[in-house]
């Protein structure tokens, strides 16, 4: 009956509803008025504000900066605030919205991202320098290969779209994942950083860069056009050189 009511002015939306792993989640159908330049986040917000106030989801900035609104839209992880409905709606006019994959669901579309960010810490994603606020600025030429490699990955917003798209994360739950390894690669290339050896140790091994199969889903799906695949390949090379020299 819902499908019969659909037309150009209405969108058939299916949203995953449930209370985490212990609850049998299910998709619930909604009819949402179609708007010009409507984003997926606009659709979810309409459902929550007009149709069902109990729907839970996460967002903050709505302009692609904060990285909190990623969801699975018609089977693919996407940042919903910058994803236009017209680009992703199926040929059957259905928009299916589910929580991000590979993370435990708190409720409905909101996932628990603790594991994702804990892995940034495990990969030693924190800058470790020697200068204090009393020292002069470090001068780093933007032309150096190291700085350019760091710059290539520095705009990550931590949305976990790459994490939700990675098959290796699905196979190995302890795999650090593309975002944490990309972060580590930016720091390995930061000439001011002093934690290089410990970081290389942290990102090598079974759960680190060597588990990556170079399938490239992270790079394909990253909304910021970052290439974690290249970062991970760089880590593999750097770790190998360190191991050969006995510096690991």
């Amino acid at each position: 009956m819902l499908v019969a009511a659909m037309n150009d002015k209405t969108l058939h939306v299916r949203i995953w509803r449930g209370l985490g792993a212990d609850d049998d989640g299910r998709f619930v159908d909604y009819a949402v008025p179609r708007q010009d330049s409507q984003t997926v986040l606009d659709v979810v917000t309409h459902v929550q504000r007009v149709l069902d106030a109990t729907l839970s989801y996460r967002f903050a900035c709505r302009v692609g900066m904060c990285g909190s609104c990623a969801m699975t839209v018609n089977g693919q992880a996407r940042w919903t605030c910058r994803t236009h409905v017209a680009k992703v709606v199926g040929a059957d006019g259905v928009l299916e919205i589910a929580p991000l994959a590979h993370l435990p669901v708190v409720k409905d579309l909101a996932t628990d991202m603790s594991a994702f960010f804990d892995k940034w810490a495990r990969a030693r994603g924190r800058f470790q320098g020697t200068l204090t606020r009393h020292d002069d600025f470090a001068r780093v030429s933007p032309e150096t290969p190291e700085r350019q490699a760091a710059n290539a990955g520095i705009e990550c917003i931590g949305c976990a779209v790459c994490y939700g798209s990675c098959d290796v994360v699905q196979w190995r739950l302890d795999f650090l994942g593309p975002a944490a390894l990309n972060r580590a690669w930016t720091l390995v290339n930061d000439v001011r950083d002093t934690d290089r050896t410990a970081r290389l140790r942290a990102v090598a091994g079974d759960a680190g860069c060597h588990s990556c199969h170079t399938q490239g889903s992270c790079t394909e799906r990253c909304p910021k056009a970052i290439a974690p695949t290249i970062a991970i390949a760089g880590l593999k090379r750097t770790v190998a050189r360190a191991a050969v020299k006995g510096e690991l």
Binding site: W171, R172, L200, R201, A204, G205, D206, G208, H210, K236, V239, A240, A242, A243, V244, L248
Partner: protein, 135 residues
């Protein structure tokens, strides 16, 4: 109490050491698989091209053996091919058995060692069979 604390601290020291060993082992496997892949890329192309060229006018087993027996260059090429396989294949099998079949690391490693031994013995035995005069 102190014994418990001692055991806990020993565990904390052992864990990073194991992680480091694992990191070094994975790094080595990575570059050995890369190097062996480069060797295999050349070997496979030469092997296929050589086969196509050699049998273009039809070839019997006797004719093959007449060319390979005593041919040191041929034997050396296929010995390298065998050794590159023996390096490359087991490393990939460790990843497959641990990821797809969830084998524990020790089982995957010992299985890979067995495959290495089999590839070396059977492969070099096959090279010897077509190289050695009258084998």
């Amino acid at each position: 109490m102190s014994a418990v604390v001692g055991a806990a601290s020993r565990g904390a020291e052992a864990a990073p050491e194991m992680a480091l060993r694992n990191a070094v082992a994975q790094a080595r496997r990575w570059y050995w698989q890369r190097i062996s892949a480069m060797v295999l890329a050349v070997c496979v192309v030469l092997h296929l091209a050589g086969m196509v060229w050699a049998v273009r006018g039809g070839l019997s087993a006797a004719e093959i053996l007449s060319r390979t027996q005593g041919n040191a260059l041929f034997a050396a090429f296929y010995a390298v091919f065998v050794l590159a396989c023996a390096v490359h294949v087991p490393i990939g099998l460790i990843a497959i058995t641990s990821e797809w079949w969830r084998w524990p690391p020790a089982a995957a490693t010992w299985f890979a060692r067995g495959v290495t031994a089999a590839l070396v013995v059977l492969g070099l035995r096959a090279v010897w069979a077509v190289y050695a005069p009258g084998a």
